[in-house]
């Protein structure tokens, strides 16, 4: 800042003070919790959608994968049915993973590094309110992602089956799991380590979690391990519902619920705010 610019600003300060006296007379008080949480969630959604890296990760990559894999036979799928009916549930899973795990972990890791979490800790927004706001933010971005992917998939001839409420249940449980794991990472590791590890784990889970590569392509020895992963439980569950019309895939719901409880508990115990 040059001395001239600063002097101008100071001049502007004086002029405006003469025009509109501002009183700092105390009138303290928190806004109602619901208003604080909605404000925080909206703020976080705006920041997330403005961040080019996050947009690439959560919107562009899943949408591109949808168009590429479903249109061309790059990877042979198993069983009957159209490729798009196989890929769409898998890419819903990728979208949930990208936002609830990778995006949340990296965003929160850097917030912690920049002291944003510390600063928010001085406002009336309680910590539980900040966590609820982050959850709302993630669910809101996921809704945008799934709506966009659905439009692309429907345009490519996707024919969904099953109960939308079962999809919502699977997505919410998976979001709890991934967010817990993401916050576990963001709350304990350095921001740079979180950045690298969250992307690495994202790629591993994309490859091994039944997102784009059918699990039948893996050796039978590793199948039980892959089936127990939360991303696999999500993609298997979504396929059971959307591709095969199951009412509620209990086994996968059970796996996700167990993961969600464990991940959230671990994150709550270890998270450091500074």
């Amino acid at each position: 800042m040059t001395a001239t610019a600063s002097a101008d600003e100071t001049g502007a300060m004086k002029a405006s003070r003469a025009a509109a006296p501002l009183s700092f007379a105390p009138a303290p008080g928190a806004a109602p919790a619901s208003r604080m949480i909605l404000a925080q969630a909206g703020h976080e959604v705006r920041l997330m959608l403005r961040n080019p890296e996050q947009l690439l990760l959560t919107i562009v990559i899943p949408a591109l994968m949808m168009v590429l894999f479903s249109g061309e036979s790059l990877i042979a799928t198993d069983g009957p049915g159209k490729r798009i009916d196989f890929y769409t549930p898998g890419l819903f899973g990728a979208a949930v993973l990208s936002t609830a795990f990778t995006g949340l972990a990296i965003g929160t890791g850097f917030e912690r590094r920049y002291g944003v979490l510390k600063r928010m800790g001085a406002t009336p927004l309680p910590r539980w309110g900040l966590v609820v706001a982050k959850a709302l933010c993630v669910l809101c971005v996921e809704a945008i992602q799934i709506a966009l992917l659905s439009v692309i998939a429907l345009a490519m001839g996707w024919q969904p089956h099953g109960d939308p409420l079962a999809v919502v249940l699977l997505v919410v449980l998976a979001t709890g799991t991934f967010a817990g794991l993401g916050l576990l990472m963001a709350g304990t590791l350095r921001a740079e380590a979180t950045l690298g590890l969250a992307n690495f784990v994202f790629l591993l889970l994309l490859a091994g979690g039944g997102v784009i590569i059918p699990l039948s392509k893996f050796p039978s020895g590793v199948r039980p391990v892959l089936d127990a992963l939360p991303i696999t439980a999500l993609t298997n569950g979504l396929r059971d519902v959307l591709q095969h019309g199951a009412t509620l895939p209990w086994a996968n719901v059970g796996i996700l619920a167990a993961w969600a409880v464990a991940a959230i508990a671990a994150a709550a115990r270890t998270f450091k705010w500074e």
Binding site: M1, A3, S6, A7, E9, T10, A12, M13, S16, R17, A20, L22, S23, F24, A25, P26, A27, P28, G29, A30, A31, R35, M36, A39, Q40, H43, R46, L47, R50, N51, F110, E111, Y114, G115, V116, K118, R119, G121, A122, T123, P124, L125, P126, E274
Partner: protein, 301 residues
């Protein structure tokens, strides 16, 4: 707060600190780097759990009753705490939404001269603009009490004066202000009371004038600048007993004690005998800086 203790591992940052702040005043917490200023303030803000002693802020325990306390206080951290991509106005408007009766954000932005910075992401604001935004965030919720950790660090002269005016207005409007600083002129100009902290304890707490008067029998000093390295022992030998003479910084001399016209004449005569011109010679009361250096020592640490 009474007997506050805060340790980080084996290191004791705050060691039995006592401090009381009157409502509606400006209190400056002054001390060398590492004296425990920030640790003390962060115990008041509820960021740190004390290892000993009692802290009450507005009658509340900052850790156990933090949710009731936080709406009533404003906090300006020493640095950052703002996401790099967030825009200045957006951050202020968002923070305002967390409070029941926030200030008009437009007026506050005008008042702090941040109008031109409105849509600029935080990371591209100048250091001074970042500081002023941070100050705005501390006051936007109309708190009763604000904690400002080095509010003018890194500001240019104009911005510093503007910040001082704002802090003085906070007091006029009935807000209690606790600030840390290591700028002695800032403490002397703004504060109703100054607490000097060293090695985790309050070693003096009084009005700026009270501190200057109470520490040492003398409240006056002769100051001048001259080539560095004058033989002060030789100077003192020619003066009445009970006076002190120091060179701090090199070439800056202060003779403290009971300064009479006779002492002044002897000092100038001594200079004349050495063919030394005492530049900027002044006689005046001891400044807070003199007191501070007497109390905390002159060696670098």
């Amino acid at each position: 707060m009474t007997g506050l203790v805060k340790r980080y591992g084996a290191k004791t940052a705050v060691d039995g600190l006592n401090l009381q702040v009157e409502t509606g005043t400006i209190t400056a917490v002054l001390g060398p780097n590492g004296a425990g200023k920030t640790s003390t303030i962060e115990c008041c803000e509820g960021y740190r759990k004390p290892d000993g002693g009692t802290v009450r802020v507005l009658g509340l325990d900052p850790v156990a009753e933090g949710e009731r306390l936080r709406p009533r206080i404003g906090v300006m951290l020493q640095s950052g705490g703002i996401y790099p991509t967030v825009r200045a106005v957006e951050m202020l408007e968002h923070t305002a939404k967390l409070y029941a009766n926030p200030l008009d954000t437009g007026a506050l932005i005008e008042r702090l001269g941040l109008g031109s910075a409105g849509r600029t992401p935080f990371r591209r604001l100048s250091g001074g603009q970042q500081q002023r935004l941070s100050l705005a965030l501390a006051v936007v919720g109309r708190p009763e009490l604000v904690f400002l950790d080095e509010p003018t660090a890194g500001l240019d002269v104009q911005a510093r004066h503007a910040t001082w005016e704002l802090i003085e207005q906070l007091r006029r409007d009935g807000v209690t202000v606790v600030l840390t600083t290591h700028l002695l002129d800032e403490a002397e100009r703004l504060a109703d009371s100054v607490a000097i902290v060293d090695a985790g304890r309050v070693i003096a707490h009084d009005t700026p004038a009270g501190l200057a008067a109470a520490n040492g029998t003398a409240d006056t000093a002769i100051r001048f600048t001259a080539p560095p390295g004058l033989d002060l022992a030789d100077l003192l030998a020619g003066l009445p007993a009970g006076l002190s003479a120091v060179e701090q910084p090199p070439g800056g001399y202060t003779v403290g004690g009971d300064i009479t016209p006779d002492v002044l004449a002897r000092v100038t005569a001594w200079c004349a005998a050495k063919d030394v011109m005492p530049q900027g010679l002044s006689v005046g009361r001891r400044t807070l800086e003199d007191v501070f250096l007497d109390l905390t020592g002159r060696e670098l640490r």
